[in-house]
Symmetry: C2
Subunit: 322 residues, 2 copies
């Protein structure tokens, strides 16, 4: 009998993972496996956003991409991002602002468990009023995926107040007071930059491959802070190139500065404010430079904000169930 | 002898034409032949803008499209529009504002006569300062082709003052005081509308073929008049569609209203002002509706402003030569 090896005692390294956390956006899919001790033990990033999945194909895509992790029987699987939209796996209705973290957790959209693992989708958030265009003041705003990053960054900062910016295709500015998201605003900044540099007359005189020119960028920010219509500021990029005062390498930075400057003008962060930036380093650098024009400090978070937010949800669920 | 018909006496209808007037733009080419008595006797519109002509092909394109009219020996041929740009037949340097009609006429760019017909290109106009991005305030503005329409419309109105708008791909707002163009501003309104409805996320929920919905358009104008960044107002179009409060047919009108509302916010015409609109009826209707929100009246001109401007140049040349 002594020939038969006995299994080693079940130690922490063998415990079931605590959490399978997934951010499933429009064009990308990222997941992490968080071990029993709360550390990320595996990461995965795939170019399989919800646009790449057939409407009835989410369950099978999920098992295809994360089946091996599911077999490790994590205590919970949480999904955030556009996966909770009408075009996703299951719609998780927007949580209306003002809303705190507890409201977000109460409004998780639960899916049928897979292999015994409970699965929930984090809802997006909306800003009322929802009066539609029949009341001009009543234009809503929405986000999906950013809310979990905001709560994650707050947790990492151990703060309950602040202004947070999530730059990107549709940049979000989020105001938090006493742990509650009181309001937020979306700007189509990244999408406008892409449209203008790919399809507009400015594309002929703008080199998007050029590296950031900080001087031209800041000049764009300063001009974007002016009370002038964007449509006019954009034509200025054209006019400057006609007079050979803005070469294609600097044009890209200047244009980016204009668009980000317009965000700042709209949001008007106060001098001395510390603004939290959640995004990649390249975008964070631009917003740091822009915010410095208004004497604002910045602190930068990357993916860790997302996963900290997912973990905070799990902690909240455990605590409220206890 | 009585069998041989005698030619009719040479009447006014047989006199040489007074003027061959051509507006040669980026994508279109329009010309009129103005008879000895100052009336348009022939019109021509061709889809042969300067983009369709090889850099050394302008002289032959000109003769190809207007050779038959040249044979009638008009006293003068005038060209306006992008034909005078660096990409055109011959560059006619911008006339810096403030500039009056006499400055425009003094700065015509003369080409070699063709078949004995003197040919001149009307210069564009520029707004200083031309400091480049090194002085943030120093962003120039330019126009080519609109200046002649402005002076033509003023002539038709028998006015020497006013605010004039030339809607289009790059809308121009032009301020005239005592016969002098004191300043003007360009807005990439038409180009932004095309970019957004063709290539952006809004294209999915916007039906550009839908006819104008005046209510939705005015709601867009009202919102565009707000002190908010365009990038945010545009995302509002998306958000409204997500909540099914803006259907694709109305979305197009609302989006158009947003963009035009932003022009109005920037230019701030005074209540009670009469604004002259130079453009096609469909665009003029939109600006009329928008300007009515600010209690401004409008008067509308079409092509006749262009040709009146050309005729005014000829008259000025004749008078100053006399």
């Amino acid at each position: 009998m002594h020939d038969i090896p006995t299994p080693p005692p079940r130690g922490p390294q063998d415990a079931h993972p605590r959490l399978l956390a997934i951010d499933w956006g429009t064009t990308s899919l990222r997941g992490v496996l968080i071990g029993a001790h709360g550390r990320i033990v595996a990461r995965r990033a795939l170019p399989h956003g919800i646009l790449h999945v057939a409407p009835d194909g989410f369950a099978s895509a999920f098992e295809q991409h994360f089946g091996d992790w599911l077999e490790q029987a994590p205590a919970l699987c949480l999904l955030s991002g556009m996966i909770g939209s009408r075009q996703g796996w299951q719609e998780a209705p927007y949580c209306p602002c003002p809303a705190g973290f507890d409201a977000l957790c109460r409004n998780l959209a639960w899916l049928p468990a897979v292999g015994g693992v409970p699965i929930a989708i984090v809802p997006g958030m909306s800003v009322a009023p929802l009066g539609g265009v029949d009341t001009v003041a009543g234009v809503p705003d929405v986000m999906r995926g950013e809310e979990i990053q905001v709560f994650g960054a707050l947790r990492l900062m151990q703060r309950r107040d602040g202004l947070l910016v999530l730059p990107g295709t549709h940049s979000k500015w989020v105001q938090v007071q006493d742990g509650v998201i009181t309001r937020f605003k979306t700007f189509m900044t990244g999408e406008l930059f892409a449209l203008l540099t790919r399809h507009s007359i400015l594309s002929r005189t703008t080199d998007v491959q050029a590296s950031l020119n900080e001087t031209a960028f800041v000049q764009g920010v300063q001009r974007g802070l002016r009370d002038e219509a964007l449509g006019h500021l954009l034509f200025g990029v054209r006019a400057l190139s006609l007079f050979d005062t803005l070469d294609p390498a600097r044009s890209s930075s200047y244009l980016s500065g204009l668009l980000i400057g317009q965000e700042l003008r709209d949001m008007r962060p106060a001098p001395g404010d510390t603004v939290a930036l959640i995004g990649n380093d390249a975008l964070a650098l631009r917003y740091r430079l822009a915010l410095a024009q208004l004497s604002c400090d910045t602190v930068v978070f990357g993916d860790e904000a997302t996963w900290a937010g997912h973990q905070a949800v799990q902690t909240h669920l455990t605590e409220t169930a206890a």
